[in-house]
């Protein structure tokens, strides 16, 4: 029986979006725009990634004017390593620009 792939194509696209600038905290709508995922698909993926310790999440500090506080996400160091390995083993179109850069070792969490 074939071994199941570690990440689905949708999860890879989320990882690739988060890899674009691993130090930057991203919000859900921004990731949804980058990946084209619907909210009902994106958030379960973020939840699973957070459960596995690959993504860290925090609420925006302070109360911004005119809108509620946002939940922000970015890859953990372990998440960046996993994303790099997964995207390296994936056809380029699934990884996106950020994913390809991580896969090539051009981006590191500590950069």
């Amino acid at each position: 029986m074939a071994r199941r792939a570690e990440f689905s194509a949708q999860t890879l696209s989320v990882l690739a979006a988060l890899c674009a600038d691993p130090r930057e905290w991203r919000h859900g709508y921004g990731i949804a725009r980058d990946t084209g995922l619907k909210s009902g698909s994106l958030y379960p993926i973020l939840i699973r990634l957070a459960d596995r310790g690959l993504v860290e999440a925090r609420w925006e500090e302070g109360q911004p004017a005119g809108r509620p506080r946002r939940h922000l996400y970015r890859l953990t160091p372990e998440g960046l390593a996993s994303a790099g390995a997964a995207l390296a083993a994936t056809p380029a179109r699934a990884g996106g620009r950020g994913g390809r850069r991580v896969a090539r070792g051009e981006l590191r969490w500590a950069d």
Partner: protein
Amino acid sequence: MGGLTRGLAGWLRHSARLVPAGRRAWVEALWAEAGQVPAGPARLAWRAGGLRLIAREALLARRAAKVLVFAAAAVWVVHAAWPGPAGNPATAVNRLNVVTLLPALAGLPLLARWLFGPGAPGPMARVLRSGGYAAVLVLTLAKAGVEQVRDNPAALPHLSSDASVPVTTGMIYTWLVESVFLLVIGLYVAAILAVTARRPRVAPATLAAGTGTGIALGAVMYAVAPLGLAGHATDPWLHGFPIALVVLLAWVLLFGGPVLAGVVAARCYRGPGSLEQIRKARIRQAVAAGFLAAAVGALMVAVLGSATIALMSRAGWVLHWLYPGQHLPAAVSYANQLAASVRADNYGTILLVFPVIGLLMGLAGGGLAAPAPLLGPPPGGGGPPRPPGHPAPDPPGGIRLAAAADGRLVRLPGFAEDSPYDAEPALPRAG
């Protein structure tokens, strides 16, 4: 649109309580982002995704609840079926059933998931799985009650003369029968898990057709044999012509029901593929529906009948319900219970034979229905079949048409553009 979005927002806010506390932050996060999404359909879709997230997370919590419900039911079955006097052979049999069936019920879903994939989505598959598990648990419990009555050594002198006591009552015979029973029940559970898994691709319509027919068959069979299966109907309510009619209906449903379910399942099937693939898929659906119809019917009559017999000795209202308006002396009532508990063994025959009949009849239903709805001409056009590598010749004039993706007919390249068939047809001249 604005009202719909606001309504959905309110719904999202309230239904977030369904999600476990540790997950609610994610729903709130999605909710907080909604204001950034452009108003209109996009925002509506974003909030609809929130409802999907809530449903998903709430269902995950429900999965944990299901495990707890099963564990509680298992404890209850152990509590009811385990105790018994040491001198009663039923005690050992019941304990064997408990220690075999409960681990099997717990482990088979894992095996089924590995072999057939996770459970199929949709309410029909979920109802069938839950119903199947509930049925097996109730059957285990009811069977324990029946065994305790029947195998009680003190009961034998009270058996009525028409009670068919098994000739071989030694322990080897008992263990053999019990092993077959456990194997059959294990196969039932495995089959239910398989047809409700994703990989076998049994359509919801197939599950509905099979289950619906099975419930009808089970109800009629229960009307015929509520107190065990014998050469005659054991129904205490009906006599003469009415019971003959019900028996006839049971036979018709046993053989005709799976055929009907198979035909319905095959006709309802809509799937991709060539005509041959669709035909094979329809036959598979028909076989699954036929099997389900007979298996659900068999399980239903076995569960209801065993439960009725088990309750005869425990609940007075069951006797009143079975023999309305009759005052049965205690000895007669006890003899009836013993006779019924002996006949309950024959439900095993139903459990064994019905699915085989269902499979065959479902196959027949598939054979009837699958070739009928031809969606177009056979590949290669009309005429006699040709050997491989010998395509049909081009039509006169060199025109070949193919269906374009958008449904229009277009001319394939490489064929005569100025075919005489394009010209207006000339009217034959008179004279």
